[in-house]
Symmetry: C2
Subunit: 148 residues, 2 copies
């Protein structure tokens, strides 16, 4: 229908290409997570808790790039499914430290394997060295953006 050889200026924009790859990643992740009954946001939450047990709702939200309110809903769903536990009352401040249950850890392991495969597939056009450099350069941009 369209001549794809005609390369517009948008393909010259780093931001557009970045969005393109991110969209591909999100779609691919959604496809492999759906059979496990997980959304991408829910998976992100589990992965964060797997690597940093005891994170609070707000802290999880920041690291998953969503608001506290959205993360709150994610946590509630996962808690209903028995994948994680939160104390009813805060021991010290108001922050409620969250932890994975056995079931949560099990689900996370399954999901993590699938997502890792997806990621590996997506970045397969690049060598290991290229992937590492890509990650470092993107991390530099992210760090600068936060500092700003």
């Amino acid at each position: 229908m369209e001549q794809e050889e005609i390369v517009g200026d948008l393909d010259q924009s780093v931001g557009y290409v970045l969005k393109q790859v991110q969209a591909s990643l999100h779609t691919a992740m959604d496809e492999v997570l759906r059979p496990l009954g997980l959304t991408v946001a829910q998976y992100a939450c589990l992965e964060l808790l797997g690597q940093h047990p005891g994170l609070s709702n707000s802290e999880l939200a920041r690291r998953a790039f969503v608001t506290r309110q959205s993360m709150n809903l994610v946590l509630r769903r996962l808690q209903e499914r028995g994948l994680l536990t939160r104390p009813a009352h805060a021991a010290h401040g108001r922050a409620l430290p969250t932890e994975l249950t056995r079931a949560g850890q099990s689900t996370l392991r399954e999901a993590s394997v699938a997502v890792r495969a997806v990621e590996q597939q997506l970045f397969s056009p690049l060598s290991q060295a290229q992937q590492r450099r890509l990650r470092e350069e993107l991390a530099a941009c992210a760090a600068a953006a936060i500092a700003n």
Copy 2:
């Protein structure tokens, strides 16, 4: 509150860092576009039409990484504001070729300048050569993902 020096495994994931940068870009774009009364999706639509006049709803949706239904709503809003025009009836198939009005082109120019500045700022930690290589490598991944 948290020791940021502690680097978890997630920061070793290209996908996570990619998401981080993309989230920063989206937030920054939203901030500069809001004063112009535009959402990120609306800007994307205008930019696509500026570079490829006559694109249909479905084609715009694909290139903006949303569904036809979502793009349809975006187009309707922009049309109400007089920023673009669509024929009431299709000349040939069912596709309705969309074009920017003078007002649309004007708004696009303003927005485009602002967004370009944001992008330049975000990727400023990288040299021109690094940015170019980054874009090419990401484009390679995107192309492979589509081919798959």
